[in-house]
Symmetry: C2
Subunit: 339 residues, 2 copies
Amino acid sequence: MPQQKTHNGSSSCAIETALIDYPFSRLVSDDLARVETLLRDHPAGQHEAVSRAMDRLLGGGGKRIRPTLILLSAHLCGANISQAVIAGAAAEMLHIATLVHDDLIDGSLMRRGVETLQVNWTPAATVLTGDYLFARSAHLVTETGCIGLVERFAETLVVICNGEIRQMFDGNSSQTTVERYRQRIQAKTARLIALSAQAGAILVGGHDEWETALHSYGEGVGTAFQIVDDVLDFVADEETLGKPVGSDLRQGLVTLPVLLFLESEHDQDTVRQVLEGDRSEETVKRAVQAVAESKAVDEALAVARHHAEEARAALNSFPDTRYRAALLDLADFAIGRRF
Amino acid sequence: MPQQKTHNGSSSCAIETALIDYPFSRLVSDDLARVETLLRDHPAGQHEAVSRAMDRLLGGGGKRIRPTLILLSAHLCGANISQAVIAGAAAEMLHIATLVHDDLIDGSLMRRGVETLQVNWTPAATVLTGDYLFARSAHLVTETGCIGLVERFAETLVVICNGEIRQMFDGNSSQTTVERYRQRIQAKTARLIALSAQAGAILVGGHDEWETALHSYGEGVGTAFQIVDDVLDFVADEETLGKPVGSDLRQGLVTLPVLLFLESEHDQDTVRQVLEGDRSEETVKRAVQAVAESKAVDEALAVARHHAEEARAALNSFPDTRYRAALLDLADFAIGRRF
């Protein structure tokens, strides 16, 4: 069981999350346990190699942000919690499916401190396992019986895939702008988190103003989350991060800290060398260090805080319940975390 | 425009199908044109590289069996045709998505006389394009507004993925039995064709007996179709087939003609050599010829005919309309085709 991570960033353990215990998730811990049971269920016909892979993927932890948001949103809006549990499992499985294919495409070897699938598997097995998880996720969400939610899930998957494709075809690092970065993290992270935050309102139906407010909240949280992720890729230690530091830069992926670094007056030679194609370990290491020690880190975190503030503000119209308070906590966590 | 292929198998042109014109599809040709428009639509946000790929994938022809079945089934059951058009596009897109990933996994270079995506693209681009097509398919089917149909689609995708995974992990050719072959083609082909045949009844709702009958019909047609496909892989000419003859055996995939050949009294040395791993072009060529000239071909076709007969019989309970007649035609086509 992990020690609780606090907002101010003190953190003292590696990620071996077997149980989920954060301030914002305690209110829904029983529901989250039901989500976990659904995720770990091995339905008839599922090949045992996939079951083992699934156990490993789930055992690697993960903060279950998406199911947590769906459950808090469902409680906030008075939605059916059994439907929300199913939707939570569907969202997490969709997220895991995208990670499986992403890791394959990036050639990543580690995620959340656990070897990625393709370390031991062929690309074919990894592709098919990702496909299978997409299929299971699609099937799970239909079990909510809510066609509106199913449609939003499918729309979101289209956006995620479009984003990945755009990143791949147009990913020339020298052409990345803040606007393109924003679009990329919207597709990659913020959209599914926004859908998760909306889920309660969608399940209840007929409350457009709730949907709009929760969408803004989710977009803010998701954006803040991804920016902090991108900062941590420079400043975290590898044990806490669960993967090598500097992964993005090593792949030529330009994130907000780099964009802000390139606008600064710091010596940019090493970073530019990497962006121009020198991916030698020594150069990457020096470039990562240059960014990590620059003011770009604080500037990027300030942008993340701004989005988290917008997220918090979007909840102003909801009554002051403990579920709203937990959602506010989650927005704080998005920017305070160190893992 | 292709010449029409007739049931007795005479065929005189390569596959450059721009328009779909078979006896069984004429009744729904206007609806099929609407399906085609939906398939060729490039929604906002779709990367132009994907649009080009999609045009090529669709331009390669294909018989649009799944949309045709959905439309005939919808007319037979009195379902809403606009919903059926959307479902038809969703089914075809799902089918194309599975082909994109299959071709990547098999390393196939040609399909339907057109180069497969990965000939010019990286595996990453091919994986993501397949994912995107899965997502579009999922989104399309939700636009029918019929949660029952959406659920069956998702279930079917789970079965297809499970089948692929099973084939990959347990695909040891020496262990293939007729039972395993049957399971494999059920997952790979018959299940989605059966769902397509049922779609009209599912859209109308409340007619379990129609669903059951149309499911039997679709399973029979799908099974017959796949067996004939597997026979054609031995006996067709490459131009008509649109891909190299003997592809299955070259990949160590044991299909019904091979299983029946191995039960026969023909000289089995060359075929066994291939199954034991000798995939040299010369050995494969001789093995393909040995199977093609054996009685296993006629025996396999007899099994296909049996399934087509079962399919026809399943329609006995429906009134004798032209839509039923077209479905009967389609069952005949499944076994009579040479492409």
